[in-house]
Structures are given as C-alpha cells and as structure tokens.
C-alpha cells in the first residue's frame, strides 16, 4: 500500500502541477499547447542548475557532512531556477499570441518543436551526449527524504503515516501540493483570480470595467510557464533520476488531457491526475503490488498479459474522457486573440 501511494504520487504530482499550469493560461484566454516544450526546457534548466551548483565546494561539503537542509535547499533553488526559466520561455508564447495576435495553437506547437531541439543541442554541447545527468551521485542519495534523517535506523519502522508520507519522498512533491492549493485559492477566491478568469470568458466586458486584458493574459501565461517549467524539473527529479534528455515522455500532453478531463477545475484535475498516476504505477509495477499486505501479489497472479497492464493508463483515460467530455466546458474566449477594436 505504501509503495502504491508513493509511486502514484510520483507520477501524479508533475501531471497535476502542469495541468494547473494549463488552467492558468487557458482561464486567462491563452491556449498553452506548449506545456510539453516548457516542461522539457524546465527539466533541462533544473538539471543543469543542479549539475553546476552541486560541484561547488559548499554543496560537496554539505553532501559529505549529510547536511540535509542544504541539499533540500539546493533542490528548491533548482525548482526556482526551472520555474524562472520556464516563465521566460513562455514569454515567447505570450508575446506572439498577445502582442502579435498570432494563432495560439501554432505558437504553442512551435515552442513544442523548438524546446526538444534546443535542449538536445545544448546538452550535446555541454555533455557531449544525449543526456545531461547530475555531476555526481544520484537523485535519491542527494535529495530524497529518508527516515535516517530523523534518526531512525535501517530496521526501525516509522509507522504507516511516516513510512508513506515522509520516508522516501521528495520535498518537491509537497511543495507542488502546497502550490497547487494556494494557486487554486488564488484563482477562485481573490480579485486577481476573478479578473484573470473573466479575461478568459469575456475579455471585452472585462476591459470595459477597466481590467487590463493584456496584462492579465501575460500574468496567466507567465504563471503557467513557471509552473510547467517547475513541473518539468520535478518530473526529471522524481521519476528519471535527475536526468534531462530533451524528452518528458509526453507528460505535457498528458497534462493537457488531464486538464480537459478535469474540466478546467483544480479539484477535478487533482482527481484526474491521481487516477492516471495510479494506473501508471500499476502498469509499471503490478507484479510487486500487495494491496492488503498479506504477501499475495494478486495482480501478478491473475495471469493477465503484461501488455494489457501497460495499456491501462491510456485505456482508462480514453474511457473516462468518453464519458465525461460531454459535460466539460472550456473557457469561452480561449484561443481568440483579444482585439480592443472588436466588440
């Protein structure tokens, strides 16, 4: 059970935060198809940051001295760097679609095409191969929170709560959950959130009430870029051992699906991401899942082909989308460039 929850969270969190990134852009009226590209770019920046900064004497010493606080700080700094560069990268989309009134779908697609190429190009120059890794050690030994940090021995048990939500987790996961909650509240309970949403529904009306639609849309896309960049790094850190390869396995597009599936609402998105994460986890490790702890691996004993398990997450998404997409409603003005002169 512990294993199932932890692995589900590892897959679900990047999806959740990147889907929220999509919500911020779309609620302000900009379709952000570039989520995948921004994730790739953010992952690259985060890994590059870790790679460079971890070699400084301060962090090497911190690692040797098991100074966990410093290492967690490094992880958070890298998240910040990824978020910042993700935001900068998304400005390309904002500029094209807000100031130049270009087609947003094409602008996003252009970024999606550009990001992996640019990232691979840079990685090849920096590392002389197709992957950029940490300069030394691995993600788990540098950044993972383990029970040893709280003085527990190898064989001591932290109890269900401790071993599930503290042992073998990343602080990035909890930062993402916290951010997700805070940003959802901002979107629904503050003046800024209301104005942002109004720009995605009826920008002309919003403008007539004195809201600067351009500014709001810039804000929405920039927050979106920052979240997607951070999500990209969190993905690289927690699922692929802090490696940047110019690829995030389509998680950006999956996040788009999760966003639509979640009907552009944060709570539904969290549910959708968890559902997808759960099945992703089952498909990869069904043979080791012991739900009720009796030592019987039910899923492995069913004798179902491994290929069926691998299809599960996509199959489930398809089925659920087929049933729910009827009721989903996109922001009304998304994808339409705002033109002051048009009424």
């Amino acid at each position: 059970m512990t294993f199932l929850i932890q692995q589900t969270l590892i897959y679900a969190i990047p999806l959740m935060i990147v889907a929220l990134a999509g919500v911020f852009a779309e609620r302000s009226g900009i379709i952000n198809l570039a989520l995948e590209g921004i994730m790739i770019f953010g992952a690259f920046i985060g890994v590059l940051f870790v790679n460079i900064v971890q070699q400084t004497d301060f962090f090497m010493a911190a690692k040797d001295a098991d100074n966990y606080l410093a290492l967690q700080g490094l992880e958070m700094l890298a998240m910040l760097a990824a978020a910042f560069m993700g935001a900068v990268f998304s400005l390309l989309l904002s500029f094209a679609s807000i100031n130049l009134r270009a087609d947003q779908t094409i602008g996003g697609t252009a970024l999606n095409l550009m990001a992996p190429a640019l990232v691979l190009f840079l990685i090849r120059i920096i590392a002389n191969q197709n992957t950029l890794q940490m300069a030394s050690g691995d993600a788990a030994s540098w950044f993972m929170i383990k029970k040893a940090m709280f003085g527990y021995g190898r064989t001591e048990d932290m109890g269900f709560f401790g071993s599930t939500f503290i042992d073998k987790t990343y602080i990035a996961t909890y930062i993402c959950i916290l951010l997700f909650i805070i940003l959802s509240i901002i979107l629904y309970k503050t003046r800024f959130g209301l104005r942002l949403r109004s720009c995605g529904e009826n920008p002309q009306a919003a403008d007539s009430l004195g809201i600067n639609v351009y500014k709001m849309r810039y804000a929405g896309t920039t927050i979106s870029g920052a979240l997607a960049g951070m999500g990209g790094f969190v993905y690289a850190l927690t699922t692929s051992n802090c490696m940047a390869t110019g690829d995030v396995a389509g998680f950006g597009f999956l996040a788009l699906a999760v966003m639509i599936f979640g009907n552009w609402k944060p709570l539904n998105i969290a549910g959708a991401a968890l559902l997808f994460g759960l099945f992703k986890c089952i498909s990869a490790s069904y043979s080791s899942i012991d739900i009720n702890g009796d030592g019987v691996y039910m899923l492995a004993n069913l004798g179902i082909s491994v290929h069926l398990y691998r299809m599960l997450p996509y199959l489930i998404t398809l089925i659920v989308l087929a049933f729910t997409s009827k009721n989903s409603r996109a922001p009304k003005a998304e994808g339409i460039p705002y033109d002051k002169g048009k009424r």
Binding site: Q129, S141, K168, S240
Partner: protein
C-alpha cells in the same frame, strides 16, 4: 507606455535566448587547448596507467584513422559503449593516432541504413579501422565490409560474418573480426558471489528484450552461479528475472518503478544488465537501500549501492583488435570469431579494494572459483534456453535451490 513595455519584453526575450545560446561557448573554445594528442612528447611516455576519462572524446584532425560506431544507447553509458570507446581511445592516444566516434542516426530506432551511413562516414573520414559495438550491427557491417574491402572492421559482441547472410557456405569476410565473450562465466561468478555473501532474494533486469545474446548469456550464467552457491550452502534462493523495459537499453521511469517495486517486496540485489538501464536501477536501489550488480565495466564508482560488477574486457578487446590491425597480424583475427573468456582474463569481477564490497565472500574464494573455470574443472553452460520465437526462456529452467519468477 504599453508599446514600450512590449518592446522591453521582446528585448528581454531576445537576450534571454541569446544568453542560452552562447552559454556553452567557452567550453568549446577551450577544448582544443587541452588536447594532449597534439604533443608529440606524449608518445614516449609509458601510459599503462592512463585514465581513459582523461582522454578527450573529440579531437580536431583532418582525418580520423580509428573510428568507433556505437551500439544503441548513449556513448557515455558508463557501460558497453563507454567501455569499448575507452579501449579505442586508449589505443589511439598511446599510439598517437587520430580517433573519432560516430553515433548512428535516429538513436534507439537506428536502422541498418543509419548504421551503414555511420560506417560510411567513418571510412570517408579516413578510418583504417572501424570498431563497431553490438550484435545489431551485423547487416550494416556486412554491407560496409563488402563496400570497403581495404578497411578493417572490428565487430565487438559479434562473430565472423559471411558475404551472404542466407548461405553459411559463402565466403567469409576477412576484413571483419568478430570478438565475443564468455559472459556466462562472469555472470556465474557474480551470481555465485552474491549468494555466498548471504543474499537470497535476487533480481535480474536485462536489456535487449531477451534477444541480445550477450545479455542472455549474462543472465543464464547468473542463474547457474546463484543456483550452485545456493545448493552448496543449502539455502533457497529466489530470482526475479525480467526483460521488461529493456528493449532500448535506456533508463526509464517505468523501469525505475518496477525495480523499486522489487526492492520494496524483498528483493535485496538486482543485476543491472544493460547499459543506461543502470541509472534507473541504481536510482531505485539508492531510494530503497537495495544493492546493485553492475555490468560490462566496473561500475562501483557510479554508486555506493554497487556491490560488484560482472565485467568483460571490452576495452581490452578493442585494444587487441586494433593492435592486430596496426602490427600487421590482422590475419590472426580477420574473418574469425574470437571468444575471450576467463582464460584470456577477459571476464571476471573487480577485485580492487574499493570495488570489492562483499562482506562474507572473500577474494581468495573468488580466485579459487576463477581458477576452476580456467582449468576446466568447472564449466559454465553458455547455451541459454530459448522459446520457439528465439526469445530467452529462463522460465523453463529447473535449477537446484532456485526459484525463478519471470516478470
């Protein structure tokens, strides 16, 4: 004001991009100055102790005499490609030859045409010897060897090949030297050693989807060794045996999840048998305090979780073959399959103090075992069982004291 803001933003973006683009420039401009190959005085110095990592991967020259064409996966996979490349670099640097590596286009989906193009590029770049790593290169190698009969090709993890793939009686291409290894021997050593050291719940995660002969031999040897040690000690050993997520020899989140699942359900040590897959497996091990067995080269430096590594002398094979090409004794290996094993000191476990992380199993016990393989008193079977489609079929094995869960 708005126009000004927009302009400012546009400028910021342009500069941000420009900054990204120019960031790595210093590394490329300093690279040539660190090339040691331009200094002729290097040649006279004994360089037995040269660390391959200190030899740069790229060098500037008009033509490149020694070429290396990589297998699937990264050049710096800390395993098969990198080990072979280290051998190529070491020989070239010691003999003051120019060298270059070529990665076939399309990465993991490289076709025979992509590989052939890489070989052609190597030959047209001036190569006299082309080292090709990985058995997947056979078809491309056949075409290249026929097209360029004056160039020597070294087929690592390969075999002698004939002009006509359908007709085993057709002429053997004498400019191709096939070199393979007795991987089952070092797999056996690793399996025996870990069980003797007290591990009873093992895992094997192999690359190539069960069709790569080298990986299959590693796995088969590993099972035999584990079974032999378990029978001697009278314990029962279980092995999770999997070819999942290994087709492309790449690290993947799914592989990491699967291996993490093994560790949480009691597996103590996993044999990471496939290039970059090591990254996922060692990450899972590091997160779950599990242990790892490395492959091809001594990987103890990569992670503290690596107990030992099943090594084969890929660097040694590359050096040997290129040497034969340059000292005029190519006939000894050209057109033949050379198998390197324990008798050639080409397979084994690393015994340096830093790499020997067993607690109960000693170097002396290891040496005794290695000797018995060398003198023939212990023979390890290399013919792994296959099913009707040619896939490895370890699940059909009945070995004493060993339970195999094929996943």
């Amino acid at each position: 004001m708005k126009k000004f803001l927009a302009m400012l933003l546009a400028l910021v973006m342009v500069f941000a991009l420009a900054a990204c683009g120019s960031e790595p420039a210093p590394t490329t401009s300093t690279a040539p100055s660190t090339e040691p190959t331009t200094e002729p005085s290097d040649t006279t110095e004994p360089s037995d102790t040269t660390d391959p990592d200190s030899i740069p991967d790229t060098m500037e020259a008009d033509s490149y005499e020694v070429a290396f064409v990589t297998d699937v996966g990264q050049l710096k996979d800390k395993s098969f490609n990198e080990g072979t490349w280290n051998g190529v670099k070491t020989y070239a640097a010691e003999n003051n030859l120019s060298y270059k590596y070529y990665q076939p286009a399309n990465g993991d989906e490289a076709t025979d045409d992509d590989r052939f193009d890489a070989m052609t590029a190597a030959v047209e770049g001036g190569a006299k010897v082309v080292v090709c790593a990985g058995y997947l290169q056979e078809a491309a190698l056949r075409r290249a060897a026929i097209a360029y009969p004056d160039v020597h090709f070294v087929f690592i993890d390969g075999y002698a090949i004939t002009e006509d793939p359908e007709d085993a009686e057709s002429a053997v291409l004498t400019n191709v030297a096939g070199i393979n290894f007795n991987e089952e021997q070092c797999g056996y050593l690793a399996g025996y050693a870990v069980v003797k050291d007290g591990f009873t719940s093992l895992g094997f995660s192999g690359g190539g989807g069960g069709t790569n002969p080298a990986c299959c031999r590693y796995g088969y040897g590993f099972l035999q060794g584990a079974s032999a040690a378990a029978a001697e000690m009278g314990v029962d050993v279980t092995v999770n045996y999997s070819w999942q997520y290994g087709n492309t020899f790449q690290a993947s989140p799914e592989l990491q999840s699967m291996i993490a699942g093994w560790y949480t359900t009691g597996t103590e040590i996993v044999f990471a048998c496939g290039g970059n897959m090591f990254a996922s497996i060692s990450a899972a091990a590091s997160a779950n305090d599990g242990y790892v067995i490395g492959v091809d080269v001594d990987q103890s430096g990569e992670s503290d979780q690596v107990i030992t590594s099943a090594m084969k002398g890929i660097d040694q094979a590359a050096i040997l073959a290129i040497g034969h090409s340059y000292d005029g004794t190519w006939d000894e290996i050209g057109g033949k399959t050379t198998t390197l094993g324990a008798n050639d000191d080409a397979v084994g476990l690393p015994t340096a103090t830093d790499s020997w992380r067993f607690e109960a199993f000693t170097v002396d016990e290891y040496n005794t075992l290695l000797e018995s393989i060398k003198d023939g008193s212990l023979s390890v079977d290399a013919n792994y069982p296959v099913d009707e489609s040619g896939m490895d079929n370890a699940g059909s094995l009945e070995l004493p004291n060993l339970t195999i869960n094929v996943i």
